[in-house]
């Protein structure tokens, strides 16, 4: 083995050490080890380059890394009960099961396409909770005007302000919020029942009856009910 060959062996050994024994990288370790062993046992660098090209060993490393990354992220999101955020990771894993890649560029593009599609789905999934939580103060203002104990003489004025607030809320929702959201997500429908799922519910750190009441208030505010 000449000196340059030895230098390349040392380089691939360093790459292997970066992932060896790391439980996040079982597939990567196997792929990098295969590359390292191929280089170590090659009679010379020219023979190694031919084997690298024929067996697509670098592509196998890239595929393995993508698989390990997606597995780790999917496991975390499953544990955190974030099924939508786990979606793109599981889609990438399904892709790797169903398609063999022979070049890194195709792999990058296929993964990028999945990530792009899911970015929109994640954004759509999180639209309602962010709007809803952001509207709580308006909902409290409305409830205050309706329920606070004030002299009768003020009731008409306060009820008128409530009606106006709701009219504005419904108009804004129908004429702006919904159409604007649908420009990005044409199928978008607010899913209030979905707010009870862990990923959304945890973002409203208050008791269930309060959330229940505010959901009803919000639907009315937007003119849905």
């Amino acid at each position: 083995m000449d000196q340059r060959h030895q230098e390349y062996v040392a380089y691939y050994e360093a790459r292997l050490r970066n992932v060896a024994g790391n439980p996040l990288y079982p597939h990567t370790e196997a792929a990098v080890r295969a590359l390292y062993e191929a280089l170590r046992s090659a009679p010379n660098l020219e023979a190694f380059r031919e084997q690298l090209e024929q067996e697509k060993l670098e592509v196998a490393c890239a595929v393995a890394r993508v698989r390990d990354q997606a597995s780790a992220r999917a496991a975390l999101y499953d544990e955190l009960e974030e099924p939508v955020r786990a979606g793109p990771e599981k889609a990438v894993l399904a892709l790797l099961e169903s398609r063999a890649f022979t070049d890194v560029q195709s792999l990058t593009e296929a993964v990028g396409a999945i990530e792009g599609e899911w970015r929109q789905r994640i954004a759509a999934d999180e639209t309602l909770i962010e709007e809803f939580w952001g509207d709580w103060k308006i909902l409290e203002d409305i409830e205050e005007s309706e329920q606070a104990v004030v002299p009768h003489a003020w009731h008409p004025e306060r009820l008128e302000s409530v009606a106006k607030e709701r009219r504005t809320g419904a108009e804004h929702y129908q004429q702006q919020t919904l159409p604007e959201t649908r420009k990005f997500f044409p199928e978008y429908q607010p899913d209030y029942q979905g707010l009870w799922e862990v990923r959304h519910r945890r973002k409203m750190p208050l008791a269930d009856p309060i959330v229940q009441r505010r959901i009803a208030c919000h639907r009315r505010y937007r003119g849905i009910d």
């Binding site: 380089y11 790391n22 992220r73 975390l76 593009e109 104990v149």
Partner: protein
């Protein structure tokens, strides 16, 4: 009417530049044609659509940016492969260093953003190493062993300096949940460094640790903000109610909106006097229902003492004392006692607010309150 050029030009500018660069280098082929086709579609939509949100939504739905980038990557990768095919190690090293030098120039100019600026020191070390006379494989090995390739891979704010900056910012902002978050992320980073073979944390392990910490603390941050917002409003309502009884009320913009007649001003003042007691009652009920906090609990609550110490409770101590004394009188049909009104008039306007508001002391200063 086309979409506003002030929006279109900054959006499409980088894509126009990339296409021109590729064509300028004399590169040809189906991927270059694809770049031109996608860009042409984006330009045409900008002419056809008037609404900027609809335009951006259409580009998102058609996945135009990704499609253009994919084609651009294929063009560059193809050109690089063709150039590298018969290159010697020395030429490959030179080409690699040339790319790093180009990146360094861009990062130094600041055009690539703050995260890129943070990679300058790493790029300088890489270039120093590459110019030290080592061979290409030795250069590549040392990138691994010195953690430089990982430092670049995790460059999106994951360097220790950046994490320290995040922590310093959280402390300056006096947001305890954010401080805890920044401290835990930094600790996770250091723990991964200790375990790493070449003293650079694994980017994936760090990403997962960071996501978990941010996920865990998000509800706490939301709750903290929600508590502060609710008690702040109660204090403001009590200030308004007492001030509505003062001699300066008719000239105050809270009741004198621009162009309001004297009768309207009086109507507004009367509304505050008569309705605010009910509103305060409602807001106190909310505070109790949401967070199990009574009025007196506000002043000893961690959120209040933190906000007070951070000089973000803008009311002066004298005004806060007055707020506390106001509550028992702020009842349906109640009238503010003359003594309290006189005190409010003496305080207004400069004595209402603390002179050092917004000037937070160093993080770690012992929490204090107005009634300690």
């Amino acid at each position: 009417m086309p979409v506003d050029p002030n929006i279109v030009n900054p959006t499409l500018g980088p894509f126009r530049k990339m296409l021109a660069e590729v064509q300028g280098k004399g590169l040809r082929g189906p991927d270059v044609d694809r770049m031109a086709e996608v860009l042409g579609r984006m330009e045409a939509l900008a002419q056809q659509m008037g609404d900027v949100t609809a335009y951006m939504g259409q580009l998102t739905q058609e996945n135009s940016f990704q499609q253009f980038s994919d084609a651009y990557s294929r063009v560059l990768a193809g050109a690089a492969r063709a150039a590298a095919k018969d290159m010697s190690d020395e030429e490959l090293l030179e080409q690699t260093l040339g790319a790093y030098e180009q990146a360094l120039r861009t990062h130094r100019s600041g055009q690539a953003g703050d995260a890129a600026v943070r990679t300058i020191a790493t790029l300088e070390r890489i270039l120093e190493l590459g110019r030290s006379g080592v061979s290409y494989p030795v250069f590549l090995r040392q990138l691994e062993e010195q953690g430089l390739s990982r430092a670049l891979a995790g460059s999106a704010g994951a360097t220790r300096d950046a994490l320290h900056e995040d922590l310093a910012f959280a402390k300056e902002s006096w947001l305890p949940v954010r401080v805890e978050q920044a401290e835990r992320i930094l600790a996770a980073y250091d723990e991964l460094v200790a375990k790493a073979p070449f003293a650079q944390p694994d980017p994936l392990a760090f990403e997962l640790a960071r996501k978990r910490i941010e996920w865990e603390l998000e509800p706490m941050h939301r709750r903290w903000t929600a508590v502060v917002d609710r008690w702040s409003y109660v204090l403001d309502l009590l200030v308004d109610w007492l001030d509505a009884h003062t001699s300066f009320a008719p000239g105050d913009e809270r009741w004198r909106s621009p162009g309001a007649s004297p009768a309207q001003v009086q109507h507004n003042i009367r509304r505050t006097k008569e309705c605010t007691p009910g509103d305060v009652g409602y807001r106190l009920a909310i505070l109790q229902e949401y967070f199990q906090l009574g009025f007196d609990d506000i002043f000893t609550h961690e959120t209040f003492r933190t906000e007070y110490t951070a000089r973000r409770v803008h009311w002066s101590d004298a005004r806060l004392a007055l707020i506390r004394e106001t509550l028992p009188h702020c009842a349906l049909g109640g009238v503010a006692p003359a003594e309290l009104v006189a005190r409010a008039e003496r305080l207004h306007p400069h004595g209402d607010v603390r002179s050092d508001r917004g000037q937070a002391p160093p993080w770690g200063t012992a929490l204090e309150g107005p009634f300690d």
